[in-house]
Amino acid sequence: MRYAMAIDTKKCVGCSDCVVACQTENDVPIGYCRDWVVEVMDGTYPQLEMEIRSERCNHCKNSPCVRCCPTGASHYNEGGIVLVEKDKCIGCSACITSCPYDARFVHPEGYVDKCTFCLHRVKKGMKPACVSVCPTKCMYFGDLDDPRSEVSMILKKRKWKTLIPEAGTKPQLYFLI
């Protein structure tokens, strides 16, 4: 099993509904976020192109955060989802500095926190909060090992990219372009 997410940058309007849904679902402390929206404007005026991406932890296959964690608090869970076990986390921030996407932060209670792909919902057969709430239905979540899952199908059909593949992290967030 290999959980992954595909996000359609052509459909995303940058409404940040995913951000709010995540904060509500996961009780993310005020002022913090586990997912966020990035807008990239590129070109020469008036020929401008905009790409909107809903970003979060890439749940990398080769995670630098898991590798550098001195206590084993950062680990691979079901389906390759990268999680932090808060009772093992000492808050040394090594994982935060190791993440090229800066997807992690220190929770006000001291441990390091991040996107969990809403594993608690996924286990019940539901989709992650951000995916289920998206008004343009631009996000796809599922098992990459299953060729008939929603995410496998869309990645076969569409062109996609990952973020900083040259960092060697093997990210599992796919952006449809």
Partner: protein, 313 residues
């Protein structure tokens, strides 16, 4: 003009707009750890080579700096933790992939080792010292008998400690400035330089002072060589590493790095030490303080500049 504007909705404290998760605690610890490693390395080296009496300060006096430096360093590391009460989790596992795990275990070995070394030499500082309990005397006599073995363990573990302070940074590929394996030898060299400076300062013996001034000169030469190589490596690498090098070659950290680390921390003390070896009268405290200051600044500047360097996407 072609332009790219990136707007991010993320504003997590300590992460955005620029990573600043590691403050003064980490570079201070790296300096103190490197200093302790340097002092212990020379003590072990000259014990193994049977030169204890020629280099009395290096073997018997300077090591007293190590446990003090390590304890302050450990305290700084502890202050840096955000989930402090769980720190013992470091010692419930060994993770070979994680430099921090290596560091935690190395400190677990080196700190008591440095204290033991001082206990063996306590009479050098306090001639009337009495351990009072026979058992302590017996234990110390045992280690005194096996001092060579102890010195070998200390030599290797202090070298690991010195290198580890740099590896801690270089293992993070997310920060292009840190992502160079030269940081390991560079920080080791900087620690050895600080260690020899402390020895020069504490020593009252002219021959020993001279020996360590020569050693320090050599190490400073190695450091300059490593720094040049670091920049050559960066400039021949990918765009992110070229940008990282540019932080020091015209960017925000140019002045502090070249003035504090290279000129004041390496070149000036090297010149003063050469003059001293040529029999000019120069107060020894000046090159010593400059070397220590340069070593500390190196850690601070690399730690802060590294957090400013990143991948762009």
């Amino acid at each position: 003009m072609r332009e790219e504007i990136i707007v991010s909705g993320r504003n997590n404290p300590l992460i955005d707009p620029q990573l600043h998760i590691w403050h003064w605690e980490i570079p201070l610890y790296l300096f103190l750890g490197g200093l302790a490693a340097g002092v212990l390395f020379f003590a072990a080296l000259y014990t193994i080579r049977n030169r204890e009496n020629d280099y009395r300060t290096a073997v018997k006096i300077a090591p007293f700096v190590a446990p003090v430096a390590l304890v302050i360093g450990l305290l700084a590391l502890f202050l840096d933790l955000h989930h402090k009460l769980y720190f013992w989790r470091l010692y419930t596992t060994i993770r070979l992939d994680s430099p921090m795990s290596w560091g935690a275990w190395t400190l677990m070995l080196v700190t008591p080792l440095s204290m033991l070394w001082c206990a063996l030499h306590i009479k050098e500082l306090f001639p009337k010292w009495d351990w009072k309990f026979d058992i302590i005397k017996d234990v110390l006599a045992f280690f005194e008998k096996n001092k060579k073995v102890l010195a070998w363990i200390m030599l290797i573990s202090s070298a690991i400690l010195g290198i580890y302070t740099g590896i801690l940074f270089s293992a993070f590929n997310a920060r292009p400035l840190w992502n160079t394996s030269i940081l390991g030898p560079l920080f080791l060299a900087s620690g050895l330089s600080a260690g020899s400076a402390i020895t020069i300062w504490l020593s009252k013996d002219h021959a020993e002072k001279k020996r360590f001034a020569q050693l320090d000169l050599m190490i400073i030469g190695v450091e300059l060589f490593l720094i040049i190589h670091m920049f050559m490596g960066f400039l021949a690498s990918t765009q992110v590493q070229i940008e990282a090098a540019n932080l020091f070659l015209g960017g925000a950290y140019t002045a502090p790095f070249w003035i504090f680390v290279v000129i004041l921390g390496m070149i000036v003390p090297a010149i003063l030490e050469i003059l001293e070896l040529r029999k000019f009268k120069i107060p020894v405290v000046i090159p010593v303080v400059l070397v220590l200051f340069g070593s500390l600044m190196l850690r601070f500047i690399i730690a802060y500049a590294g957090q400013a360097s990143r991948w762009l996407y």
